[in-house]
């Protein structure tokens, strides 16, 4: 302390004492005192109020104040100034008290010298200044402690709390007043969590602090406390030692970290959440910092890295991803470069989002990825998330889809059917090549977006549009509609159309799909069949008409109407031939649309062989077709030609005319092998008549012949009746005169009557008349013969025809039509004849009425039309059968071609191999090659054998040549042979019963039977299956059965199984030719045996063969007996 000068205030009421002190202080060195003296307390206080002094010398006994009061008065005015109390000798005790009350020193007046006084003042000033500094320092520290946000506690060496600041009050919830002076472990136990407040815990706390107070080891810990208000907080406590003479004190700093810890927990949770979320994502994710360095990756990223063998334990964290992308090289590096560019833009905040698809194929896998970038700022720092998605599966699916679509497109394009799809407005969406070309487009693509109106005439397009709309509006498919269509060249054809609504995944109709099949060929075939049917119907109708008339002119007109209605006809002539005079007479003529007078044409004598067209027809009884008649005229000895006006000329003059008959068809009118005449039809066109036309006229001719014969007979009868009437009249006139001749004339009548009856009786038609009440009045012989009844059985009895039940409904319906308004009805039905056979009969029933319209009788005329019916049926069946056989034959040819060419190809290839490369082949290879050739030859031989056998079967040349055989040995050897040659894994089990050693059978046929049945069983059952073959020989017959457990035979096809070339629909790709079972059946039948089978599709088939058989011994016995 640099004390040069001290300012001192002396308060002393005794002037002597004051002067003495002043003089003492003036003599003191080195310190100089500037002394101010006052004599009253108030004066001192007044001075101090305006001046600062270093020390006050104070006499406690002043006139205005006594004792300690005086001290207090000065202390109030100058609290930090040093005070030295002056007392008298007898007041020293008071001076001690003053020191105890804050005075720095106490001197006894009269006992001090200047030196002592000076030292006392200087020391007091120093003490006062130290105390002041200490007070200021303490105040400062206290302020710090009180201001601290942390709780601060001081404990002394015994563990007693001496300081407890406000923050501590707040944190722990215990007031300073309640804490100071208590043991620290008591207070800590008080705020221990309620459930932990146990004696043991108390001891632990106490021990903890006791130990600390001994060793002074600083420590830090976190713990939870429970405030007296029961609130639980987390606090962090730091305990530090303060060394003292006695040991250690402690300062305990406490911080409430409850919120901080909650925030920390929340932070940790958020971090875990984001990490788990990232790891749970299937995308490969990396997060980059502002330089592009990877700062975090997810699990998918790590797995991808592992899977690619990167062996980087950091998984790229810390690596600069930009550099990785920039350095990428190789075929798929373009994607990486694009990613790098995108990241740079994102980092520069130019473009915060990037989406990119790229290929990144590995050597053994095709891979595609998408990459997506998203940038964001955290506290002003840029972060970028890089997300890679593996889209290989989607890409592969897309590529497969494209490939499938392409395949589908190729298939559709190569379908012969027309296939297309349209939208709701009829615009083409897709179309195959076949359809595009058919409608005149160059390519299917060209048609997309166009409609039918762009390609078809408006009316046709409108019709298609109407169909389309119907399908689209109704949702109903249009299936298999046959309709005429127009091809691009304008030619017409027939098409089978199916249109089906096209729906999207919501099942809404968005258009339609159409399929069109060209059925022109089928249609034409159908037309031909229809025409044939029409022809049969026409012939039938005509035959009916002809059967109902006995008038020649009506017959001819009917013929004319039928012919001109059916075929092109410029002229029609009918001539008759009478063998008695060998003359051909024209009886009916028609040309150029009008009737001609047939009587103008002179009769022609029947010419010699090879001359005259009509003569040739009459001689041979065969039709004659001259497609170029004029050329024929030169060769044939034609006598005259009828011109179109009906006039007759020689043939030389006719040749220049325009309307010349160029095609002529002659057909004989034949009845029971007798030619009655000729129908002649001509046309001005060359080769005008088709096979159908000729067929029609040939079919018509016998009907005409029969009708003409009937009419001629009737005419003759009419003629005779008229003659009789004339005779009767003459008889009556001559009755009187010529009575004697009555008997003779009567005889003549009877003869005539008999002849008439004979004519009726000789009719082949059945005639029956009955009254309106149904009583039979007449039947002819034909009727009686047919039904096997006598005339007496019929006449006078009820007319009660037996009608088959199948025909009864129709018969009743048609018979009831018979009324006076409709007096003629023709009914067909079946009848049982006396011969025991069922005949088809055609009855023409007619009502016979008198002049008043009253029904007298019903007349029925019946014809046997069984043959006609049968021929119609035979015709139909033959047509169907022929089509079926053609189909089977073409299938067979295709199969045989393949089955022969394949072994041939093996043989040829083996030949080439041996001849050209034989020197390079091992002996072993050559041997196997020869075996293969041998096997191929065996295959061909087997097929050829089958074909030859079936050929012999069809020609009826397969014969039975029996010889004695041992059936058991035969079968064993054959089965062994089959197993070897077919190389099969099937188990062939042979069971034999009875005496089979010596039988009389044809081994060749037997071989056909067993080989075919067993090889079929093997072919049509899975490998490894059993095939059971059983033979049972009884004295009369051999029973052979072959059972397999294979695919079986579809039930509805079983009836065709033994037909030549037939193959069941479930045989699929299994090789075969449809001959085997046909041969088997024939072989069985040649033995006089029978074959049957039982089959269930999917379960198996068993064939049963029964061969009648005579054991050898018996056969020889019989031979012996016959000798």
């Amino acid at each position: 302390m640099n004390v040069q000068s001290l300012k001192v205030l002396l308060i002393e009421d005794s002037p002597d004492d004051a002067r003495l002190i002043d003089q003492m202080l003036k003599q003191v060195r080195p310190v100089s005192f500037d002394l101010v003296t006052v004599d009253r307390l108030e004066a001192g206080r007044a001075y101090l109020a305006h001046n600062t002094v270093d020390a006050v010398l104070l006499d406690l006994s002043l006139p205005d104040s006594q004792g300690l009061e005086t001290l207090a008065g000065i202390q109030a005015s100058a609290p930090t100034t040093a005070i030295v109390v002056l007392t008298g000798f007898d007041d020293y005790q008071l001076g001690i008290e003053a020191v105890n009350n804050g005075a720095q020193d106490c001197l006894v007046k009269g006992r001090v010298d200047g030196k002592l006084l000076s030292r006392a003042i200087v020391h007091s000033v120093e003490r006062a200044r130290s105390a002041q500094a200490l007070r200021e320092s303490e105040s400062k520290f206290r302020s710090v402690i009180e201001q601290s946000v942390d709780g601060i506690v001081l404990i002394d060496e015994d563990g007693i709390i001496v300081e407890w600041n406000q923050a501590q009050e707040r944190i722990v919830g215990i007031a300073r007043a309640d804490a100071v002076g208590r043991l620290i472990w008591d207070i800590q136990f008080q705020v221990t969590l309620e459930e932990q407040r146990t004696p043991a815990q108390y001891q632990a706390l106490k021990q903890h602090y006791t130990a600390f107070l001994e060793n002074g080891q600083p420590h830090l810990h976190d713990r939870e406390i429970q405030r007296p208000t029961h609130e639980i907080r987390t606090i962090q406590t730091s305990v530090s030692p303060i060394r003292t003479n006695k040991g250690f004190m402690a300062s305990i700093v406490t911080r409430d970290v409850t919120e901080q810890q909650q925030v920390q927990l929340a932070l940790e949770e958020a971090y875990m959440f984001s990490q788990y979320t990232l790891d749970a994502l299937s995308a490969h994710i990396a997060i980059l910092d502002e330089t592009g360095t990877i700062i975090a990756v997810n699990e998918a990223w790590r797995q991808f890295a592992d899977a690619n063998g990167l062996n980087d334990p950091t998984y790229g964290v810390g690596t600069n991803y930009l550099a990785v992308c920039d350095n990428a090289a190789g075929p798929w590096s373009e994607g990486a470069h694009e990613v790098a560019d995108g990241i740079r833009k994102a980092l520069a905040d130019q473009d915060n989002e990037l989406y990119l698809e790229y290929a990144c194929h590995s050597p053994d896998e095709q891979r595609w990825f998408t990459v997506r970038l998203n940038s964001f700022d955290v506290n002003g720092v840029r972060r970028t998330v890089v997300v890679h998605y593996d889209i290989a599966e989607r890409k592969l699916a897309e590529e497969t889809l494209a490939s499938e679509r392409n395949l589908l497109r190729t298939l559709i394009d190569h379908m012969p059917d027309r296939i297309y799809a349209k939208d709701r407005e009829g615009r083409f969406l897709i179309k195959n090549r076949s359809d595009a070309i058919k409608m005149g487009a160059a390519t299917p693509e060209e048609t997309v977006g166009k409609t039918d109106f762009d390609y078809y005439p408006p009316d046709l397009a409108a019709r298609y549009q109407a169909d389309d709309q119907m399908v689209i509006q109704s949702g109903q498919a249009l299936v298999n509609r046959e309709e005429p269509a127009l091809a691009a060249g304008g030619s017409g054809y027939w098409i089978l159309t199916t249109k089906v609504p096209l729906r999207n995944s919501q099942n809404e109709i968005i258009g339609l799909v159409g399929v069109g099949r060209d059925i022109t060929e089928r249609k034409h075939a159908q037309e031909r069949i229809d025409k044939l049917h029409a022809e049969i119907d026409t012939l039938y109708a005509i035959s009916k008409q002809l059967g109902q008339t006995l008038n020649l002119e009506t017959i001819y007109n009917t013929v004319h109407a039928a012919v001109t209605g059916h075929m092109s006809c410029d002229g029609l002539y009918i001539s008759s031939y009478t063998p008695e005079d060998r003359l051909i007479r024209c009886v009916w003529a028609w040309g150029d649309g009008r009737h001609l007078d047939a009587s103008q044409f002179p009769p022609i004598p029947l010419a010699d062989d090879g001359q005259g067209n009509q003569s040739q027809v009459i001689r041979t009884g065969e039709a004659l077709y001259l497609p170029d008649y004029q050329a024929r005229l030169d060769a044939a000895q034609t006598l005259y030609v009828v011109r179109s006006d009906g006039s007759v000329t020689g043939r030389d003059t006719a040749s220049q005319e325009e309307n010349l008959p160029r095609t002529v068809l002659f057909v004989p009118l034949k009845l029971e092998n007798r030619v009655l005449g000729v129908i002649q039809v001509f046309s001005y066109q060359l080769d005008a008549y088709s096979e159908g036309d000729r067929h029609f006229l040939r079919g018509l001719a016998p009907q005409v012949a029969a009708a003409v014969a009937n009419a001629l007979l009737f005419e003759q009868t009419q003629h005779e009746v008229a003659e009789r009437e004339r005779a009767e009249k003459a008889l009556r006139e001559l009755n009187d005169i010529l009575e004697q001749r009555i008997a003779a004339r009567t005889a003549e009548f009877q003869e005539s009557e008999a002849r008439y009856r004979a004519i009726v009786e000789d009719q082949t038609e059945l005639i029956c008349r009955s009254t309106a009440d149904g009583i039979v009045t007449f039947v002819n012989d034909a009727y009686c013969r047919f039904y096997g009844m006598s005339r007496e059985d019929c006449i006078g009895h009820g007319f009660d025809p037996y009608i088959f039940e199948e025909d009864l409904t129709r018969w009743t319906k048609e018979y009831n039509v018979l009324t006076p308004v409709n007096p003629v009805v023709t009914i067909e039905h079946r009848a049982l004849g006396a011969d025991g056979k069922v005949h088809w009969m055609q009855w023409t029933n007619r009502l016979i009425m008198d002049g008043t319209g009253k029904i007298i009788e019903v007349q029925g005329v019946g014809r046997d039309i069984t043959r006609q019916k049968k021929s119609e049926e035979v015709l139909r069946q033959a047509l169907a059968r022929e089509m079926e056989v053609n189909e089977m034959r073409s299938r067979f040819i295709s199969m045989a071609s393949h089955d022969l060419r394949t072994p041939l190809a093996i043989i040829q290839a083996s030949m080439d191999l041996f001849s050209q490369y034989g020197d390079r082949l091992s002996e072993e290879r050559k041997r196997s090659g020869y075996k293969e050739v041998d096997k191929a030859i065996q295959q061909m031989v087997a097929l050829l054998d089958n074909i030859l056998t079936i050929g012999r079967v069809e020609a009826g040349k397969l014969e039975m040549e029996p010889e004695p055989i041992n059936l058991k040995a035969f079968c064993q050897s054959l089965i062994t042979e089959l197993k070897t040659s077919l190389g099969t894994s099937h188990h062939l089990n042979l069971g034999v019963a009875g005496e089979c050693d010596r039988l009389w059978l044809d081994p060749k046929l037997l071989r056909h039977i067993i080989t075919n049945l067993v090889s079929n069983a093997i072919k049509y059952s899975p490998p490894g299956c059993a095939v059971e073959i059983h033979i049972n020989c009884t004295p009369d017959q051999v029973l052979l059965s072959v059972e397999d457990f294979g695919i079986g035979i579809p039930t509805d096809e079983q009836e065709h199984l033994f037909e030549t070339f037939f193959r069941a629909s479930n045989t699929g790709d299994t090789p075969g030719n449809g001959l085997g079972l046909a041969i088997v059946r024939q072989s069985v039948e040649l033995h006089g045996g029978s074959i049957t089978f039982e089959s269930r599709p999917g379960e198996g088939t068993t064939f049963f063969v029964v061969l009648p058989c005579i054991p050898l011994e018996e056969r020889f016995d019989e031979d012996d007996s016959g000798r």
Partner: protein, 121 residues
Amino acid sequence: MKTILVVDDERTLRVNLCEMLTFEGFKVIEAENGAVAIRAARLNSPDMVICDVAMPEMDGFEVLMRLKADATTAALPVLLLTAQAEKASMQHGLEIGAADYILKPFIFSDVLAKVRACLGQ
């Protein structure tokens, strides 16, 4: 060395043909059915295919169409091998993209000539 994929379900014929082609200096891959053939064509990138028409399950025409429908095999020349003598059937083969066809039975020198024509030799 050119590689030829030979497809025929008839083993003997396929083996003979492969042997002769091997003697002529070709590398040969065999396939006994259509499905195997298509897989082999994709994996082994042969220079051409000789394929039988009449095979069970997938016939030669379908094999051809599938090869043509796949971009990786569409350009392969395909020589069809057939026992079906009908012209129409062969015309169909050519229309759907066969390079040529050979009728069974065949002489190997003819096959060789057509193979070389297909490979542009």
